[in-house]
């Protein structure tokens, strides 16, 4: 599936659908979602105060573990230190957050740009095993929150009654000003099924 291979906005008036497509396109590019969305279809019925959106996501990356982005080793043995040499600097700040939460700020030293020393009192080998498996960043987590942000930003603002369903690689969003009718939600699920069937 290519990025944004299907991008349809439907409304009773074609010019309005076109204008709305440009709004959604701006929102998608602002939130850097272009690469994550495969197919998207939006149906707008202003006369019923209804907004329906179905998205098929492209496969997302697995969570990043510390062993993937850093080498772990021993520091000064008698002080049970653990030494972390990070290879990809962009993960440094989320890693620091996690280490501070676990050991406290004073126990994490950074003698050099890519090197961290953790002072702790457990068995260093066990601790290294634990740290190697620790999740540093989860691209999916960020993606979910950006998707929700995108849905809220691209819906007309007054439509405060919302339904959403987020699965492994799909997202449905229905919004209205009034009570949501069950058939509207069903239609959105139908839209998603059609999108998924596309070749």
């Amino acid at each position: 599936m290519n990025a944004l291979e299907t991008f349809i906005v439907e409304s009773a008036v074609p010019q309005e659908a076109e204008a709305y497509r440009s709004i959604v396109a701006d929102v998608i590019s602002e939130l850097v979602l272009g690469g994550a969305i495969g197919r998207i279809r939006i149906v707008l019925r202003p006369e019923d105060s209804l907004f329906q959106m179905a998205i098929v996501l492209r496969g997302s990356q697995p969570p990043v573990r510390l062993a993937d982005v850093a080498d772990l080793g021993y520091g000064v043995m008698e002080r049970k230190e653990v030494r972390i040499s990070i290879r990809e600097e962009k993960y440094l700040s989320p890693l620091l957050e996690k280490l501070w939460a676990r050991y406290g700020r004073g126990q994490v030293l950074q003698p050099e740009r890519n090197t961290l020393i953790v002072r702790q009192d457990q068995d260093p080998e066990k601790e290294i095993n634990y740290l190697e498996g620790m999740i540093v960043a989860d691209p999916k987590q960020g993606l979910q929150s950006r998707l929700i942000e995108m849905a809220i930003r691209s819906t007309p603002e007054g439509f405060r009654v919302r339904y959403h369903s987020m699965k492994e690689n799909s997202f449905i969003f229905v919004a209205s000003e009034d009570m949501l009718k069950p058939e509207w939600i069903q239609q959105a699920h139908q839209m998603l099924a059609e999108l998924q069937e596309e070749q």
Binding site: V13, S22, P156, E157, D178
Partner: protein, 311 residues
Amino acid sequence: MAAVLEPYIYEGGIHRHTLITELLEDLGGYLIQKIPAATEVTLIMLIPKKDVPLVEELGKKLLGKLTMAPLTGTEIAVVSPTLAAHHLPHSACDVAEHLRRDGANTNMIGLARGMGRRVALSADYERKLINEHDIALFSFGTFADCIINKKPKLFEGVEIPIVATGGPDLRTEDVPNADVYVGNIGRVAHRLRKSDELSSLDIMNQKVAEIVGSMREDISKDPLAVLPPRVMKEIYEQIPQIEQVLTPAPVTLQLDGLRVKLPYAEFSEKVENLEFDEGTRLAELAKVMPSKMKNYILIKIKRESEVGFVI
């Protein structure tokens, strides 16, 4: 009767720009607003009609540019349904900026509950605040159905001329209670910089200028007892505290009044007691009221028919 004044904007270097302001003072014109920005300065002024070539000549010598600014001396409310990212900063801020380029002073007003169709409404306080301006400009969205059937209820209680902007290409008659509708300025999530977007902003300025023109004509049938810029000059001369006000326009001109950005409780008496060379006080010529905007002072100047004379 004072000389006929023409509104102009001067844009040029800050170096020696005081020559312009001095000349303006000698000619009996008024400096409405001075906006310095690093090495550049923008002067918004009213110049006596017959002396415009003099200022133009001096401006040319200083390598500046003098352009007509038909919206000078007006205060326009740019009303957006709410302050959420859906409506701001684009396109409402772009609209406001474009109006300012023609000399208008704009205030952005985000309604508390203006969003949506059935649920959209405006509060009494908001309507009173909007009515303090010369013109209200409502910036709406993409759907014709909303603009024609639902949004006009936000116009209720607004007594000043109403300009509506929106995406679809509608006729003014289609939008109930709007004085002018300007299309192709709907909801967008990017800055308005494409040529067709800019040309619709130009059309908007033109239509707003037409409304301002007819409002000025109405006023000239029963003229104001004193010109607002004259009052502004007296405020600067008689109330020195105005120099310490940090807002961009400490005294904002309106077509039939002024907004003075000093606290009402402290300064209303001083403003009422402003003296004119002709021997009258401002209280005889105008109503001095507390403004709905912060704790400012609002002055509405009375007409000749009410006061009996014009100075």
